[in-house]
């Protein structure tokens, strides 16, 4: 398994669920079909600069709460990765979740691409919702383009 992909999945796990321990991540990856050991997760956490912090009495892993300071001028892929963008899809919607404060920047960057399949882009503080023209191939196309830029 590719390390880049694993890093992406780990970030996704942390955004999607409550991760209390490294074995939670091992379990998450196992459910996705990847058998990874705790030792590797430990290294990944170090490399991703994930933080461990108390939340309600229990410890959780979180993404580093830094904000990309190179907004506007940098490469598209740097922008998306600095904002820790995570994508999910349903029907003709693709949701791009970002660090708080980066939603509109990411939304603008995506708009500027002027991908023809995109019908509308809705920014929030920490996300950009892409409404794709009703055409399943179009959703796949946009998804693939975003995925290739992440990781």
């Amino acid at each position: 398994m590719d390390k880049q992909l694993r890093h992406q999945l780990i970030k996704q796990a942390i955004l999607e669920q409550t991760i209390n321990s490294q074995s939670d991540i091992v379990a998450y990856l196992a459910k996705k079909g990847y058998q990874i050991t705790q030792a590797t997760i430990s290294r990944d956490i170090s490399e991703l600069h994930l933080i461990k912090v108390a939340q309600n009495g229990e410890f959780v892993y979180r993404l580093p709460q830094t904000r990309p300071d190179n907004q506007g001028t940098d490469a598209f892929h740097t922008l998306l990765n600095d904002a820790n963008a995570q994508i999910s899809r349903q029907d003709n919607l693709i949701n791009v979740e970002t660090l708080p404060g980066s939603g509109s920047v990411i939304a603008n960057a995506i708009k500027q691409r002027r991908w023809p399949e995109i019908f509308a882009v809705i920014p929030t503080d920490d996300s950009a919702l892409l409404i794709i023209k009703k055409d399943s191939a179009a959703v796949d196309a946009v998804w693939a383009r975003l995925a290739s830029v992440l990781g």
Copy 2:
């Protein structure tokens, strides 16, 4: 020794030097003349919401960058009711209408719940639109949860 004072000293230690482990803090306090065990430091770190993060190749403790969100169910309940939240639904959408200006606050609060059925949350000035994953049971689940919090 007073807990409050110890907490102060721990924060000071983290600001003054590089703290790699809890025993570093034990040593710091010992040098100040206080004999404290690792178990207590562990509890303090939890209470202070200190974070552990990789820096260069090593792990360091740092102060929390963002305020710990200790919004429990009570706060959530109060928040929604104070904003006079009203919910309505259609297909996989749930619209939460609020007092003008409260949309983003409510949207954030809902996002922080991390309910797994929610695909995306779109705030407006006076509402939060919840897009639920396409699964009728999921819509019911979210609806029930919101309804239980209102009124």
